[in-house]
């Protein structure tokens, strides 16, 4: 794979010469392979190559963006001129001109190295992995009307330059696998889906035994259908697994902490947030709660060394000991908040504007083992996995529906319970956490935001977390 660095610099320079006060260009080249196995039958495989340039300019305080996959200088010139013109016109509606925070201009080359390059694994072997997943369910297949497996591998190379002098060349391979299973028993059904994405090569799949995992989880689905009892709507202590804590951190800490939402910029799309600048230093939860977002977690699905505005990746502490501590910033929101960017600007593709995004969002661990957390619960619910979830567009009212979940009595796990619904406000959630496990685990996801939609790979996670006195019951 090669990227045409000269073309990137040409875009940056040409925009400056034609009236932009700031310009940047990002050339992204991606190769992808995708495989699907649906109920034992392969669907069409995907082999895609894409390459394009995203150019961003500031003109008279107005912001313009061009995405083009034609590498012809004359056409690029005409389009750059056009976005400069329209950015200038649109600046007339601005009360405050758009300005970016001043940042160090890095020149660097970085790469995530695959131990086993995915492109060295043959299409047959990749497809065989999915057939093996299917095979691991063969003994219970007749009770599983839906078995859907997907595998995708990719290599992305990016070259970024801006008019401040930054020049960054990055390469990142990724692997993504997804399964979804529906189990049925006497007309009743339960579903489980699980995505796993990492930055790296084929070794990611060698490290894990997904064959065991899918078999275990699917066997549990059938048990849920046969044995799970309804939970009365009462107050229980709730023990959440890292999977549940992870999704909650993403939805009720990461998203509300995006400074562009706080400034209303996503108002008509992904929405706004309950968090305003005044919240900084105010209490949202108990002392034990500290939540960070960190793009530097090794091999994480949302890993990067520099963001898409050339700012160095760094850990952001969003909630510190129960107090709102920071927002996720890009260079525009940082300037509005009168601080430096903390490197959260991301675009999932060449043709998307880089905006404030999460990477790996997780709650920091505490001191307890799982058994210690459990033994101090008299009447409780342990939720190990979830199915449906959602949250309002200010990130205040969230819902998580348990998939595998158990009743707890006097410190002991009892029988399975059916779809317990945790419907709770953000403040109640963080204020109810009283103890945390010592180990953290991550789950993978594709985070949705931006207009047009731009899914970006993320991780989310945390330790086991114990919440006291939560009203909860079966759906």
């Amino acid at each position: 794979m090669t990227v045409d660095k000269d073309l990137v610099h040409f875009c940056v320079d040409y925009a400056l010469k034609n009236g932009a006060s700031y310009s940047e260009a990002r050339l992204v080249s991606t190769t992808e392979e995708g495989y699907i196995l649906k109920n034992g039958v392969p669907e069409s495989s995907v082999f895609a190559e894409g390459k394009g340039i995203g150019v961003r300019v500031i003109v008279d305080g107005g912001l313009g963006f061009l995405a083009i996959n034609k590498f012809n200088k004359e056409e690029i010139k005409a389009r750059v001129k056009e976005i400069i013109k329209i950015a200038k016109v649109s600046s007339k509606l601005l009360k405050q001109p758009i300005k970016l925070s001043e940042e160090k201009a890095y020149k660097d080359k970085w790469e995530v190295k695959a131990k086993i390059k995915s492109e060295d694994i043959s299409p047959e072997e990749k497809m065989q992995y999915l057939f093996d997943l299917e095979k691991s369910l063969s003994s219970i297949k007749n009770k599983l009307p839906s078995r859907f497996f997907q595998l995708a591998t990719s290599n992305t190379e990016k070259y970024y330059a801006n008019s401040d002098g930054a020049e960054l060349h990055g390469k990142i391979p990724q692997v993504f696998i997804y399964y979804s299973v529906i189990a049925m028993e006497n007309g009743d059904a339960e579903q489980r889906y699980y995505p796993l994405g990492e930055s790296g090569g084929w070794e990611i799949l060698k490290r894990r035994n997904l064959f065991e995992k899918i078999k275990e989880e699917t066997t549990v689905l059938l048990k849920i259908l046969k044995e799970a009892k309804k939970l009365p709507k009462e107050t229980f202590d709730v023990l959440l697994s890292p999977e549940l804590v992870g999704i909650a951190m993403h939805e009720s800490c990461g998203h509300p902490g995006e400074a562009d939402r706080s400034l209303g910029r996503e108002g008509a799309q992904a929405g706004e947030t309950y968090l305003t600048k005044d919240w900084l230093g105010k209490r949202i939860g108990n002392d034990v709660v500290t939540v960070v977002d960190d793009p530097t977690v090794e091999n994480s699905y949302g890993f990067y060394k520099y963001d898409d505005e050339g700012v160095e990746a760094q850990r952001r502490v969003l909630i510190k000991n129960g107090l709102i501590n920071d927002f996720l910033h890009n260079r525009w929101t940082a300037e509005v908040f009168n601080k430096k960017s903390n490197g959260a600007s991301r675009a999932g593709r060449f043709d998307r504007e880089p905006i404030v995004r999460m990477s790996t969002t997780f709650m920091l661990p505490g001191d307890f083992s799982f058994d210690e957390l459990l033994e101090d619960i008299k009447k409780g619910v342990f939720i190990k996995s979830y199915t449906e979830w959602n949250i309002d567009d200010k990130r205040w009212n969230a819902k998580y529906v348990g998939n595998e979940a158990y009743l707890i009595e006097n410190g002991q796990l009892k029988h399975l319970i059916r779809r317990p619904v945790l419907e709770i406000t953000t403040q109640s959630f963080y204020s109810s956490v009283d103890a945390l496990g010592k180990k953290i685990e991550f789950i993978s996801g594709t985070c949705g935001k931006n207009e047009p939609m731009d899914g970006v790979p993320v991780w989310m996670g945390g330790p086991y977390a114990r919440l006291r006195d939560i009203p909860i019951g079966s759906a």
């Binding site: 669907e43 963006f65 209303g264 199915t387």
Partner: protein, 456 residues
Amino acid sequence: MEIGKYVVDKALKLGADDVVVTIKPAVTKQIRFANNEITLSTTWDTVDVGVFLAYKKRLISSNLNNPSLSETFSSMGGKTNLTKDSVDKFLERMTKIAKVLAPKEDYYGIANGPFKYKPIKDSYDKKIENLGEKTVDFVEDAINAAVDEGAKRCAGVLYSSFWEEHKFTSGDVEAKEKGSSINISLRAFAEKDASGHSVSVSRNMKGFDPEKAGREAGMLAKQSLNPVVGESGKYDLILGPMIAANLLYYMSYAFSAFEVDSGMSFLIDKIGKRVGSNKVTIVDDGRLENGFESSAFDEEGVPTQSKKIIENGILKTYLHNTSTAKKFKTKTTANAGIIYPQPKNLILERGDSKLEDMISQVKNGIYITNVWYTRFANYRTGDFSTIPRDAMFEIKNGKITKSIKGLRLSDNMQHVLESVSAISKDTRTIHWWEVEIPIVTGYVLCKDLNMTKSAK
């Protein structure tokens, strides 16, 4: 575009059984705004070249988008500079891969043409190609209209787009058409938690009314001032067009033969059975005049058509391409997706009611204007929940009594269809960030649906 034909012929020579090539140059422009200010203007100028190959039931979807292969494409109307040599190398690689893939045993090929295509009325407007800075004026008009109605700040997006699509297949298809579209989505905020959202969606300038969208959003924002947290329970719900469209969009996966085949649809084994009240007729029309996704042909080149998916509450058909139709022993509904059949323009057929009449007949109900974040606890059964955003009102004894917030609709998709007791006469097209397939719908009255809220 002779390169499209070359790709088909060359792939056939290399042993492929079926080939579909789609070349789509497109220019899209966008104005984003928030807090009554323009936050970004964008131009996308791209060409996508999609190639689908089948070799002894082994299927590959690929593209020729990498400029290292395609050199340069000229703009609209254009020829490509794809060299024969680079295409040959690409196809040799793809057919080599195809030969080692596992077969999709239940693949039954693509459609055999040639076909005749009738152009679709009002689907291309040259004026959209030359709007220039006028798009900024449209945004200003919409914002001003919302502010006039009582909004303090507006956020949203305006898109204008024009494209060509050229299709060549080994089934003797050679098709092309031009299209254009313009649409605005505007959310108006009056105060904290008081907001309204509306859209205007059209294929031509004649059908585009940004001011109207602004006015409607502004009005809802003002009407919803000072909301209080509502109570959970069973209610009769009036669904405004934005929420009705959201639910129809999210349930539309279940219409696709792909999802039926996957075991994921809540409509499996229900053809000919009742799945909704007799008020419910859902049509998919690929040829709808001024339909946002109308096109003369589907992904494999079959001429598009209108079909009833649900008629008076009875499920009539799933959506098919040629291959799924053969598997299901029926005819294609011209909804390819070669892999995933999907709707073009989904229409909930109009009724004879109107919003005011619906409000007056509700004793204990809620009027919801918009939702987001619709998710399924179970695709197979259709259990889902979704969260109202923007204006929502409590209705008691035929009158709107207050603005409310903090509730969630937690129910089942088939139950929603079964609960429909009235549909308005006025309908409109909804298409925005949350509703990615154009949905034509009006107001819908549903009986006895379940609303929940945070317990703590």
